[in-house]
Protein backbone atom coordinates (compact mmCIF):
# COMPACT_ATOMS: atom_id res chain seq x y z
CA UNK A 1 0.00 0.00 0.00
CA UNK A 2 2.77 2.43 0.99
CA UNK A 3 4.67 1.51 -2.18
CA UNK A 4 1.61 2.34 -4.30
CA UNK A 5 1.22 5.78 -2.67
CA UNK A 6 4.95 6.56 -2.95
CA UNK A 7 5.08 5.47 -6.62
CA UNK A 8 2.16 7.60 -7.77
CA UNK A 9 3.05 10.68 -5.70
CA UNK A 10 6.75 10.61 -6.64
CA UNK A 11 5.77 10.17 -10.33
CA UNK A 12 3.38 13.13 -10.05
CA UNK A 13 5.98 15.34 -8.34
CA UNK A 14 8.63 14.34 -10.88
CA UNK A 15 6.26 15.27 -13.72
CA UNK A 16 5.27 18.58 -12.13
CA UNK A 17 8.70 19.84 -11.06
CA UNK A 18 11.27 18.02 -13.20
CA UNK A 19 9.85 17.38 -16.66
CA UNK A 20 12.04 15.29 -18.89
CA UNK A 21 11.53 15.59 -22.64
CA UNK A 22 12.34 11.95 -23.37
CA UNK A 23 10.04 10.66 -20.64
CA UNK A 24 7.26 13.09 -21.61
CA UNK A 25 7.39 12.01 -25.26
CA UNK A 26 7.45 8.31 -24.41
CA UNK A 27 5.20 8.21 -21.32
CA UNK A 28 2.23 6.82 -23.29
CA UNK A 29 4.35 4.04 -24.81
CA UNK A 30 5.87 3.32 -21.40
CA UNK A 31 2.43 2.98 -19.80
CA UNK A 32 1.18 0.76 -22.67
CA UNK A 33 4.31 -1.42 -22.62
CA UNK A 34 4.31 -1.67 -18.81
CA UNK A 35 0.64 -2.55 -18.84
CA UNK A 36 1.12 -5.32 -21.41
CA UNK A 37 3.99 -6.75 -19.34
CA UNK A 38 1.87 -6.65 -16.19
CA UNK A 39 -1.06 -8.30 -17.96
CA UNK A 40 1.30 -11.06 -19.08
CA UNK A 41 2.28 -11.63 -15.43
CA UNK A 42 -1.40 -11.60 -14.42
CA UNK A 43 -2.05 -14.19 -17.17
CA UNK A 44 0.78 -16.35 -15.77
CA UNK A 45 -0.74 -16.05 -12.30
CA UNK A 46 -4.09 -17.17 -13.72
CA UNK A 47 -2.43 -20.11 -15.50
CA UNK A 48 -0.70 -21.08 -12.25
CA UNK A 49 -4.03 -21.37 -10.44
CA UNK A 50 -5.26 -24.93 -10.98
CA UNK A 51 -8.77 -24.63 -9.47
CA UNK A 52 -9.56 -21.30 -11.10
CA UNK A 53 -12.19 -22.41 -13.63
CA UNK A 54 -14.04 -24.67 -11.21
CA UNK A 55 -14.25 -21.70 -8.81
CA UNK A 56 -15.48 -19.47 -11.62
CA UNK A 57 -18.14 -21.90 -12.80
CA UNK A 58 -19.60 -21.85 -9.27
CA UNK A 59 -20.19 -18.14 -9.75
CA UNK A 60 -22.53 -18.62 -12.72
CA UNK A 61 -24.93 -15.79 -13.42
CA UNK A 62 -23.89 -14.00 -10.22
CA UNK A 63 -20.88 -12.71 -12.17
CA UNK A 64 -23.21 -10.08 -13.72
CA UNK A 65 -23.94 -8.57 -10.31
CA UNK A 66 -20.53 -6.90 -10.28
CA UNK A 67 -20.93 -4.66 -13.37
CA UNK A 68 -24.62 -4.09 -12.52
CA UNK A 69 -23.72 -3.03 -8.95
CA UNK A 70 -20.99 -0.72 -10.27
CA UNK A 71 -23.39 1.00 -12.71
CA UNK A 72 -26.19 1.44 -10.12
CA UNK A 73 -23.71 2.59 -7.46
CA UNK A 74 -22.05 5.10 -9.79
CA UNK A 75 -25.48 6.38 -10.84
CA UNK A 76 -26.52 6.93 -7.20
CA UNK A 77 -23.14 8.50 -6.37
CA UNK A 78 -23.53 10.91 -9.29
CA UNK A 79 -27.12 11.67 -8.27
CA UNK A 80 -26.16 12.62 -4.71
CA UNK A 81 -22.96 14.44 -5.79
CA UNK A 82 -25.07 16.64 -8.11
CA UNK A 83 -27.08 17.89 -5.13
CA UNK A 84 -23.99 18.52 -2.99
CA UNK A 85 -22.02 20.33 -5.72
CA UNK A 86 -25.03 22.09 -7.31
CA UNK A 87 -24.12 20.62 -10.71
CA UNK A 88 -27.13 20.06 -13.02
CA UNK A 89 -28.57 16.60 -12.26
CA UNK A 90 -28.33 15.35 -15.86
CA UNK A 91 -24.74 16.56 -16.19
CA UNK A 92 -23.82 14.94 -12.88
CA UNK A 93 -25.26 11.60 -13.95
CA UNK A 94 -23.55 11.82 -17.35
CA UNK A 95 -20.21 12.45 -15.57
CA UNK A 96 -20.70 9.50 -13.20
CA UNK A 97 -21.58 7.21 -16.13
CA UNK A 98 -17.98 7.60 -17.33
CA UNK A 99 -17.26 4.82 -14.76
CA UNK A 100 -13.60 5.82 -14.55
CA UNK A 101 -12.97 5.88 -18.32
CA UNK A 102 -11.81 9.47 -18.43
CA UNK A 103 -10.84 9.83 -22.09
CA UNK A 104 -14.18 8.69 -23.51
CA UNK A 105 -16.54 10.48 -21.10
CA UNK A 106 -14.51 13.70 -21.34
CA UNK A 107 -14.55 13.68 -25.15
CA UNK A 108 -18.30 13.01 -25.29
CA UNK A 109 -19.18 15.65 -22.68
CA UNK A 110 -16.81 18.32 -23.99
CA UNK A 111 -19.06 18.40 -27.07
CA UNK A 112 -21.72 19.91 -24.77
CA UNK A 113 -19.40 22.32 -22.94
CA UNK A 114 -15.66 22.53 -22.33
CA UNK A 115 -16.25 22.92 -18.58
CA UNK A 116 -18.38 19.78 -18.40
CA UNK A 117 -15.72 17.87 -20.36
CA UNK A 118 -13.04 19.07 -17.93
CA UNK A 119 -15.16 18.09 -14.92
CA UNK A 120 -15.79 14.62 -16.40
CA UNK A 121 -12.09 14.21 -17.16
CA UNK A 122 -10.94 15.26 -13.70
CA UNK A 123 -13.66 13.24 -11.91
CA UNK A 124 -12.65 10.06 -13.68
CA UNK A 125 -8.89 10.71 -13.22
CA UNK A 126 -9.50 11.19 -9.47
CA UNK A 127 -11.65 8.02 -9.44
CA UNK A 128 -8.73 6.08 -10.95
CA UNK A 129 -6.25 7.49 -8.41
CA UNK A 130 -8.72 6.82 -5.57
CA UNK A 131 -9.16 3.27 -6.83
CA UNK A 132 -5.39 2.73 -6.89
CA UNK A 133 -5.20 3.83 -3.27
CA UNK A 134 -8.34 2.14 -1.93
CA UNK A 135 -8.54 -1.23 -3.74
CA UNK A 136 -6.09 -2.92 -1.30
CA UNK A 137 -8.03 -1.52 1.68
CA UNK A 138 -11.51 -2.38 0.35
CA UNK A 139 -10.28 -5.88 -0.59
CA UNK A 140 -8.91 -6.42 2.91
CA UNK A 141 -11.69 -4.94 5.03
CA UNK A 142 -14.90 -5.19 2.95
CA UNK A 143 -14.54 -7.81 0.21
CA UNK A 144 -12.65 -8.78 -2.93
CA UNK A 145 -15.56 -8.28 -5.34
CA UNK A 146 -16.48 -4.93 -3.78
CA UNK A 147 -12.91 -3.73 -4.38
CA UNK A 148 -13.33 -4.43 -8.12
CA UNK A 149 -16.36 -2.13 -8.28
CA UNK A 150 -14.22 0.87 -7.23
CA UNK A 151 -12.16 0.48 -10.41
CA UNK A 152 -15.19 0.69 -12.72
CA UNK A 153 -14.34 0.30 -16.41
CA UNK A 154 -10.58 0.36 -15.70
CA UNK A 155 -10.71 -3.03 -13.95
CA UNK A 156 -9.84 -4.64 -17.31
CA UNK A 157 -6.59 -2.70 -17.87
CA UNK A 158 -4.73 -0.20 -15.67
CA UNK A 159 -6.18 -1.42 -12.38
CA UNK A 160 -6.21 -5.16 -13.13
CA UNK A 161 -2.65 -5.68 -11.78
CA UNK A 162 -3.58 -3.96 -8.48
CA UNK A 163 -6.75 -6.05 -8.21
CA UNK A 164 -4.75 -9.22 -8.91
CA UNK A 165 -2.20 -8.26 -6.25
CA UNK A 166 -4.81 -7.31 -3.64
CA UNK A 167 -7.20 -10.24 -4.24
CA UNK A 168 -6.64 -13.52 -6.11
CA UNK A 169 -6.36 -14.75 -9.73
CA UNK A 170 -10.03 -15.90 -9.82
CA UNK A 171 -11.17 -12.41 -8.79
CA UNK A 172 -8.82 -10.97 -11.43
CA UNK A 173 -10.67 -12.95 -14.12
CA UNK A 174 -14.03 -11.68 -12.82
CA UNK A 175 -12.58 -8.13 -12.73
CA UNK A 176 -11.48 -8.45 -16.35
CA UNK A 177 -14.97 -9.61 -17.35
CA UNK A 178 -16.54 -6.72 -15.39
CA UNK A 179 -14.13 -4.22 -16.98
CA UNK A 180 -14.97 -5.39 -20.51
CA UNK A 181 -18.72 -5.23 -19.76
CA UNK A 182 -18.47 -1.74 -18.27
CA UNK A 183 -16.18 -0.43 -21.04
CA UNK A 184 -18.74 -1.61 -23.58
CA UNK A 185 -21.55 0.00 -21.58
CA UNK A 186 -19.91 3.44 -21.01
CA UNK A 187 -20.55 4.90 -24.51
CA UNK A 188 -24.22 3.84 -24.30
CA UNK A 189 -24.68 5.07 -20.71
CA UNK A 190 -23.10 8.50 -21.35
CA UNK A 191 -25.12 8.95 -24.56
CA UNK A 192 -28.29 7.77 -22.78
CA UNK A 193 -27.75 10.35 -19.99
CA UNK A 194 -27.18 13.09 -22.60
CA UNK A 195 -30.36 12.12 -24.49
CA UNK A 196 -32.58 11.53 -21.44
CA UNK A 197 -31.67 14.84 -19.77
CA UNK A 198 -31.64 16.76 -23.11
CA UNK A 199 -28.05 17.91 -22.57
CA UNK A 200 -27.03 17.98 -26.23
Amino acid sequence: MLGIIISIISGGLLGYFFQNDYLTKNSDSLVSGGLCLLLLFVGMDIGNNQSLFSKLSKFGKKIWLLPIGTIIGSFLGGYIASYITKVHLGEGIAISMGLGWYSLSAIELSKISAELGSLAFLTNVIREVLAILTIPLVAKYIGHLESVSVAGATSMDTLLPIINKSTSPDVAVIAFFSGITLSTAVPFLVTAAITFFHLG
Binding site: G34, I46, G47
Partner: protein, 102 residues
Amino acid sequence: MRQIILYVFILILGATLVKKNLIPSFIKKRLSILQTISLFILLGTMGYKIGINETIIRNFKNIGFQASIFAILTCIFSVLITFILFKISKIFFEKSTVKKRG
Protein backbone atom coordinates in the same frame (compact mmCIF):
# COMPACT_ATOMS: atom_id res chain seq x y z
CA MET B 1 -12.21 -3.10 -29.46
CA ARG B 2 -8.68 -3.81 -30.72
CA GLN B 3 -7.38 -2.96 -27.26
CA ILE B 4 -9.74 -5.46 -25.59
CA ILE B 5 -8.65 -8.19 -28.04
CA LEU B 6 -4.96 -7.36 -27.33
CA TYR B 7 -5.49 -7.61 -23.55
CA VAL B 8 -7.41 -10.89 -23.85
CA PHE B 9 -4.62 -12.24 -26.10
CA ILE B 10 -1.87 -11.24 -23.62
CA LEU B 11 -3.73 -12.77 -20.65
CA ILE B 12 -4.34 -16.03 -22.55
CA LEU B 13 -0.70 -16.03 -23.71
CA GLY B 14 0.55 -15.71 -20.11
CA ALA B 15 -1.78 -18.47 -18.88
CA THR B 16 -0.86 -20.77 -21.82
CA LEU B 17 2.90 -20.27 -21.33
CA VAL B 18 2.55 -21.41 -17.71
CA LYS B 19 0.20 -24.32 -18.53
CA LYS B 20 2.62 -25.59 -21.21
CA ASN B 21 5.54 -25.26 -18.78
CA LEU B 22 7.33 -22.80 -21.03
CA ILE B 23 8.18 -20.44 -18.17
CA PRO B 24 11.33 -21.27 -16.19
CA SER B 25 10.59 -22.09 -12.55
CA PHE B 26 12.80 -19.27 -11.24
CA ILE B 27 10.48 -16.78 -12.99
CA LYS B 28 7.34 -18.58 -11.79
CA LYS B 29 8.63 -18.39 -8.21
CA ARG B 30 9.30 -14.67 -8.56
CA LEU B 31 6.02 -13.74 -10.29
CA SER B 32 4.80 -11.77 -7.30
CA ILE B 33 7.96 -9.64 -6.96
CA LEU B 34 8.09 -9.11 -10.75
CA GLN B 35 4.47 -7.91 -10.66
CA THR B 36 5.24 -5.57 -7.77
CA ILE B 37 8.26 -3.98 -9.50
CA SER B 38 6.40 -3.54 -12.82
CA LEU B 39 3.36 -2.17 -10.97
CA PHE B 40 5.41 0.49 -9.18
CA ILE B 41 7.06 1.54 -12.47
CA LEU B 42 3.63 1.69 -14.17
CA LEU B 43 2.10 3.72 -11.32
CA GLY B 44 5.11 6.05 -11.26
CA THR B 45 4.69 6.69 -15.01
CA MET B 46 0.94 7.24 -14.55
CA GLY B 47 1.71 9.73 -11.77
CA TYR B 48 4.24 11.43 -14.08
CA LYS B 49 1.59 11.70 -16.80
CA ILE B 50 -0.75 13.40 -14.33
CA GLY B 51 2.05 15.72 -13.16
CA ILE B 52 2.92 16.92 -16.68
CA ASN B 53 -0.73 17.37 -17.70
CA GLU B 54 -1.37 21.10 -17.35
CA THR B 55 -5.13 20.61 -17.94
CA ILE B 56 -5.41 18.41 -14.85
CA ILE B 57 -3.27 20.70 -12.67
CA ARG B 58 -5.01 23.90 -13.85
CA ASN B 59 -8.50 22.44 -13.59
CA PHE B 60 -7.82 20.88 -10.22
CA LYS B 61 -7.55 24.36 -8.70
CA ASN B 62 -10.93 25.39 -10.20
CA ILE B 63 -13.12 22.29 -10.21
CA GLY B 64 -11.10 19.94 -8.03
CA PHE B 65 -13.63 20.01 -5.18
CA GLN B 66 -16.60 19.14 -7.40
CA ALA B 67 -14.64 16.41 -9.19
CA SER B 68 -13.44 14.94 -5.88
CA ILE B 69 -17.03 14.78 -4.52
CA PHE B 70 -18.19 12.97 -7.70
CA ALA B 71 -15.24 10.57 -7.60
CA ILE B 72 -15.57 9.78 -3.89
CA LEU B 73 -19.36 9.25 -3.98
CA THR B 74 -19.34 7.09 -7.11
CA CYS B 75 -16.66 4.89 -5.50
CA ILE B 76 -18.49 4.64 -2.15
CA PHE B 77 -21.85 3.80 -3.73
CA SER B 78 -20.33 1.30 -6.16
CA VAL B 79 -18.88 -0.60 -3.19
CA LEU B 80 -22.10 -0.29 -1.20
CA ILE B 81 -24.46 -1.46 -3.96
CA THR B 82 -22.16 -4.33 -4.98
CA PHE B 83 -21.95 -5.39 -1.31
CA ILE B 84 -25.76 -5.31 -0.95
CA LEU B 85 -26.37 -7.16 -4.26
CA PHE B 86 -24.01 -9.99 -3.31
CA LYS B 87 -25.54 -10.22 0.19
CA ILE B 88 -29.06 -10.47 -1.33
CA SER B 89 -27.92 -13.04 -3.91
CA LYS B 90 -26.37 -15.11 -1.11
CA ILE B 91 -29.69 -15.17 0.80
CA PHE B 92 -31.62 -16.16 -2.37
CA PHE B 93 -29.01 -18.77 -3.27
CA GLU B 94 -29.17 -20.33 0.21
CA LYS B 95 -33.00 -20.33 0.14
CA SER B 96 -33.15 -22.10 -3.23
CA THR B 97 -30.59 -24.67 -2.03
CA VAL B 98 -32.68 -25.36 1.10
CA LYS B 99 -35.86 -25.71 -1.03
CA LYS B 100 -34.14 -28.17 -3.39
CA ARG B 101 -32.96 -30.23 -0.43
CA GLY B 102 -36.44 -30.10 1.20
